[in-house]
């Protein structure tokens, strides 16, 4: 092999090695939680740090929303259909906030295991359908999730 080609080969190998390292490291990262996002199961299992600003999300549990009649305080529970976490929030909730609806909240977990949210955002899923269809699906006993893979909560 002439020196020029060998030089090129070494550079190409260097580039391939760099890319491979990058891919390996990304795979390591994907196994870690780099979101600071916790599901109710993770919070219940004590994986979430206490009193650090994190994100948590899940479905609002039916019948769990308690509004304070004098202030804007709202207490509710969220679930990922395995565990439940109680959240408390003071402020105006987004229009789409409803029981059975997915939300993402930013806030801190206090020592009692209650998530004190300072921001509540309604997350909607990728399903779109007319109300009649949604109703019909519900009546037939299917959830709207049967149309698609479950949302990633």
């Amino acid at each position: 092999m002439n020196p020029k080609r060998k030089q090129r080969l070494i550079i190409v190998l260097f580039i391939v090695f760099g890319c491979a390292t990058a891919i390996g490291l990304v795979l390591v990262a994907l196994n870690e939680n780099i979101n600071l996002f916790y599901s109710p199961t993770q919070i219940a299992a004590g994986e979430a740090p206490v009193d650090a600003r994190i994100r948590a999300g899940g479905m609002v549990v039916e019948g769990s929303v308690k509004r304070n009649s004098k202030t804007l305080q709202v207490d509710f529970q969220i679930t990922d259909f395995a565990e439940k976490v109680t959240m408390s929030y003071v402020g105006i909730l987004p229009d789409l906030f409803a029981e059975g609806q997915g939300i993402v909240a930013l806030g801190r977990l206090n020592a009692d295991g209650v998530f004190v949210a300072d921001e509540v955002l309604a997350k909607h899923d990728e399903n779109y359908m007319p109300p009649e269809v949604a109703e019909a699906l519900e009546k037939s006993g299917k959830t709207k999730d049967s149309m698609s893979p479950a949302p990633a909560y």
Binding site: M129, P130, A134, M147
Partner: protein
């Protein structure tokens, strides 16, 4: 196949053929956009959850699609320009950058308008939104670099390198909703899976998407033809064209 490729390299050939295609694309874009908009905004059913506010999808999704595909087209034509020194690819790159920036802005703007009633906020710094913002900045970078370099050939090549470097952002945009738990919902339209959208809403959306692409095709042909005239103004065929009053000789 190869003769087509070589012909494509000739700005004059593209000027002629583009002139023939242009009215058809414009017509198709007009029909599709009007049909899609009327169908989507007036006749498609309201969403069971979001009510009428979901209708912004008919602008938001096509704009976001185009924002990303235009950048990919820029990178591809940049690569073609660098490797085969094809002038037409350079001209295309220059012509579509502002169009891409406009669609990116449109996607971000409609997203913000949509976000307020659904999420409860105009803007969140989640991965999808941030990576789209970076895309907008990358378009600005390409445009600024193009404007700063006087020599057209050098400018085109420099922009091609920048577009290729910026390409790393595209998969990040695409997969951000899957990799990170973003507030932005995952894609409703996927190539491999059934769309998670009711057909009554899906069809007008698809019409709008095709309409937007036709619109982009028309705009980009127009802008590329302009660019050809500008760059080739000293050649005999452009001079002859001007003398015949712009009609194809």
């Amino acid at each position: 196949m190869w003769s087509f490729f070589h012909k494509l390299g000739s700005p004059r050939w593209f000027y002629d053929i583009g002139g023939k295609w242009l009215p058809w694309f414009a017509l198709a874009a007009g029909i599709l956009l009007v049909t899609g908009a009327v169908w989507g905004l007036l006749y498609a059913p309201a969403d069971y959850l979001q009510g009428n506010s979901y209708r912004i999808i008919f602008v938001h999704v096509p704009a976001a699609f185009l924002a990303q595909s235009i950048f990919m087209m820029m990178a591809v034509s940049g690569a073609v320009g660098l490797i085969w020194k094809m002038k037409l690819a350079d001209m295309f790159l220059k012509a579509v950058a502002p169009v891409g920036a406009s669609f990116t802005f449109l996607a971000l703007f409609t997203g913000a308008v949509w976000g307020k009633p659904t999420w409860g906020t105009w803007w969140v710094w989640d991965a999808r939104l941030t990576s789209m913002l970076i895309l907008l900045f990358l378009y600005f970078g390409v445009m600024a670099l193009q404007a700063a370099i006087e020599d057209a050939n050098v400018a085109a090549k420099a922009c091609a390198v920048l577009a290729l470097v910026g390409l790393v952002n595209i998969p990040i945009i695409k997969y951000s909703v899957d990799w990170w738990n973003t507030l932005h919902q995952p894609a409703s339209l996927k190539l491999t899976e059934k769309p998670t959208m009711h057909p009554d809403m899906l069809i007008p959306l698809l019409i709008m998407i095709v309409g937007f692409y036709c619109f982009f095709a028309a705009i980009s042909i127009m802008r590329t033809r302009n660019e050809i005239l500008e760059r080739e103004k000293r050649t005999a065929w452009v001079k002859a064209l001007v003398q015949t009053g712009g009609r194809n000789a």
